[in-house]
């Protein structure tokens, strides 16, 4: 049998020689011999131990063979022969490629993610035999949106640093009444954004990693909300030592979101209806806030929220096209939530009143009247927006109108 040879020079197995040896053996057939030359005094001992553990054979060279082999230019001498075993490469028998990394490639994303793919990257070749790792959301139809890669790109590009994006030093020259109203609204926003953080964070851990763009987008959504909570809090504390009021009704409304176990229905209630309404609210505050700092915060957060809404609409519209029965389940969930909240007081009056004061700019009667009109107009805009998004999901106009009307008075 012909014998290949390798000169390791002073490289020992205790310093990584296995990397070279394994590659050489892998390229040969079982039974092939590889003569190993080297100078490391522990090399022969280590070769025997390493070969045994890897399923290779090893034959130490005798003194006469060492002498006959001479000395390499590196000073290395023959140490022995590795005999390639059968186990090399066995690990990859039956390995399967888990789709393709680029979602744009045909068949890149499987209709159902295999549980034995576990945490493997999409596009990796996955060793057979792994124990299944269960993810509740393993079907493409339940999570995917054709726009998800583009939405992810936008989300990554749209991240902003509160330290530089917000003019924290801009003057605050408005009245105490306005500041109190603003702090109350910010308190309400923080509470709502906390719900909007928890929900995508919960579902991110339930989505099979094969649908990585969805998982990433949900994670970034949670991070967006974490940033919103931070900037709202920082702004609220600029002129006040404490935050405003939190009501039982507000908490009950958010509880129905946080406790919704279905990804589809939570997406509907949170993203399509709740965050969609919030986009209107944040732009309203951007237009009406008395200071530059608050206006900048509201603009940035509204832009983030728009992305959250876009993903919710995109994946639910896709799913409803594939499964028309989903529309009825969505309608039922809106009705259920409405019934559950029927006895609560809805939007707390402090928030409603604070919005009136912010929009009016003062407590002077003409300003209050103008502010009140603006808030009534805001509610109408929210309703119109919800109706339009429900239409995008596949509801007809009368149904969309009716369902939008059932949405919580708490906005989110």
């Amino acid at each position: 049998m012909t014998s290949e040879a390798i000169d390791l020079a002073d490289l020992g197995l205790d310093r990584g020689a296995h990397v070279v040896l394994e590659r050489r053996l892998r390229a040969s057939e079982p039974g092939a011999r590889l003569a190993v030359h080297g100078v490391d005094p522990a090399l022969s001992t280590h070769l025997a131990a390493w070969a045994r553990a890897r399923g290779h054979g090893y034959e130490e060279a005798g003194p006469a063979e060492v002498l006959a082999a001479g000395v390499e230019s590196s000073g290395a001498r023959l140490v022995g022969w590795l005999v390639r075993g059968r186990a090399t490469g066995s690990r990859w028998v039956g390995a399967r490629r888990a789709g393709a990394a680029d979602a744009g490639v045909p068949d890149a994303v499987a209709d159902r993610a295999d549980e034995t793919w576990g945490l493997a990257a999409r596009g990796a070749s996955v060793e057979a035999g792994a124990r299944p790792l269960h993810f509740a959301l393993s079907d493409k139809d339940r999570v995917w949106a054709d726009e998800v890669a583009e939405l992810l790109r936008q989300a990554l590009a749209g991240q902003w640093d509160p330290a530089t994006a917000i003019p924290w030093d801009a003057p605050l020259e408005h009245s105490d009444e306005l500041e109190d109203a603003l702090v109350q609204v910010l308190t309400f926003l923080i509470e709502n954004e906390t719900a909007a953080l928890i929900i995508p964070a919960k579902f991110a851990s339930q989505v099979h990693p094969h649908f990585r763009e969805v998982q990433q987008l949900l994670a970034i959504t949670a991070a967006d909300e974490a940033r919103h909570v931070e900037v709202f809090t920082r702004r609220a504390l600029m002129r006040r030592d404490a935050l405003g009021l939190s009501t039982v009704g507000g908490q009950e409304s958010l509880r129905t979101l946080v406790e919704e176990p279905s990804f589809e229905l939570a997406s509907l209630l949170l993203s399509v209806l709740g965050e969609g309404s919030f986009v209107n609210l944040l732009w309203f505050l951007h237009r009406n806030a008395p200071d530059e700092c608050t206006r900048a915060i509201m603009k940035r957060t509204a832009q983030d929220e728009s992305r959250h809404v876009a993903f919710g609409v995109a994946h639910l519209a896709r799913q409803a096209r594939l499964d028309p029965a989903l529309l009825e389940r969505m309608a039922a969930s809106i009705e259920r939530r409405h019934d559950a909240l029927r006895e609560t007081s809805g939007l707390n009056e402090e928030v409603f009143d604070a919005l009136v004061v912010i929009a009016g700019g003062s407590l002077a009667p003409p300003d209050v009247a103008r502010g009140h009109e603006a808030v009534v107009d805001l509610a109408a805009q929210m309703h119109a927006g919800r109706r339009q998004r429900l239409r995008l999901l596949g509801f007809d106009e009368p149904r969309a109108e009716a369902l939008s009307g059932l949405h919580t008075r708490n906005f989110m």
Binding site: L13, P41, T45, H46, W50, R52, A87, R91, G129
Partner: protein
């Protein structure tokens, strides 16, 4: 399925449960009833093997010698039916610090040698025998310092060897004993940095664990067990994780030619006498 074949094994590590549970499932899928009992030490396992508590023992080399000697003393016989490919042709080595440590066996005189558990064939008995046969009697020509981790488990736990290696690098001992493969492992994990130690001595090759049966074992069931075991393939994705856990690429027929050094070590150091006496085999 008929009555299960019962295996006895020693719980030297929590992974032992995963290993034998895995085997149980693997055998069940092949319509072979298998179960196991665990012991905290090999001496209890050997004793219970003779008491008929199970059919086949997964024995350390020392437990094999214990079982074989008790069997012989009682006019019975023990057989090693299978072992891992990685159980064959091991060596142990004695290493010192390259910088400032003993450079030869002769320089070990008067020094301290770190070994593993006192019942470890690979980290204590066989290397000490090697030194004794080279003219360095333990306790007389050099001090022995034991690093006992989980006595009764015959050194299956790697901790004693690692502690001895650490003591070598700390300067607490002048040399340390370990399996060849662990010297490489300790280098790779940084316990013994590459090039920091010199191999002073290397033992002849010896064998490690085996599946042991006594002459009253149910022959057909044992034959089927052995047949299934030897057919396990590393190519099979369902079997491979088990083989990785147990540390082998292939099961091979058992052999007993690789226990001669350990036999001599037991005789020379009188190590087995108390156990054999207790078993009425002294």
């Amino acid at each position: 399925m008929s009555d299960p074949l019962i295996l006895g094994a020693v719980a030297y590590d929590p992974k032992v449960v995963s290993i034998w549970d895995g085997f149980k499932e693997w055998f069940a899928a092949r319509d072979f009833a298998f179960d196991y009992v665990l012991y905290s030490n090999y001496e209890s396992q050997v004793e219970q093997h003779f008491a008929g508590a199970f059919h086949v023992a997964w024995n350390s080399p020392l437990a094999w010698i214990e079982a074989e000697r008790v069997a012989r003393a009682r006019g019975r016989s023990a057989e090693a039916i299978a072992m891992r490919d990685t159980d064959q042709d091991l060596t142990s080595i004695v290493v010192s610090r390259t910088e400032g440590g003993p450079a030869s066996l002769e320089e070990l005189r008067g020094k301290t040698v770190g070994v593993g558990a006192s019942d470890s064939p690979q980290a204590t008995l066989i290397p000490l025998l090697h030194l004794a046969e080279a003219g360095l009697e333990p306790g007389r020509d050099f001090q022995v310092r034991e690093f006992d981790v989980l006595y009764g488990k015959h050194g299956d736990h790697i901790g004693g060897e690692r502690d001895a290696a650490r003591a070598l690098m700390n300067g607490e001992v002048d040399a340390a004993c370990m399996i060849d493969g662990n010297h490489l492992l300790f280098a790779q994990e940084g316990t013994l940095p590459a090039g920091s130690t010199t191999i002073l001595a290397q033992t002849a090759k010896y064998d490690h664990c085996n599946f042991t049966v006594l002459d009253d074992a149910p022959k057909e069931t044992i034959a089927r067990f052995r047949e299934l075991l030897l057919a396990q393939s590393y190519d099979d994705a369902q079997t491979r994780p088990l083989m990785d856990l147990e540390g082998l690429k292939q099961w091979v027929p058992g052999r007993t030619m690789g226990y001669a050094q350990l036999e001599r070590a037991c005789d020379r150091f009188g190590w087995l006498a108390p156990f054999l006496k207790r078993m009425g085999a002294a």
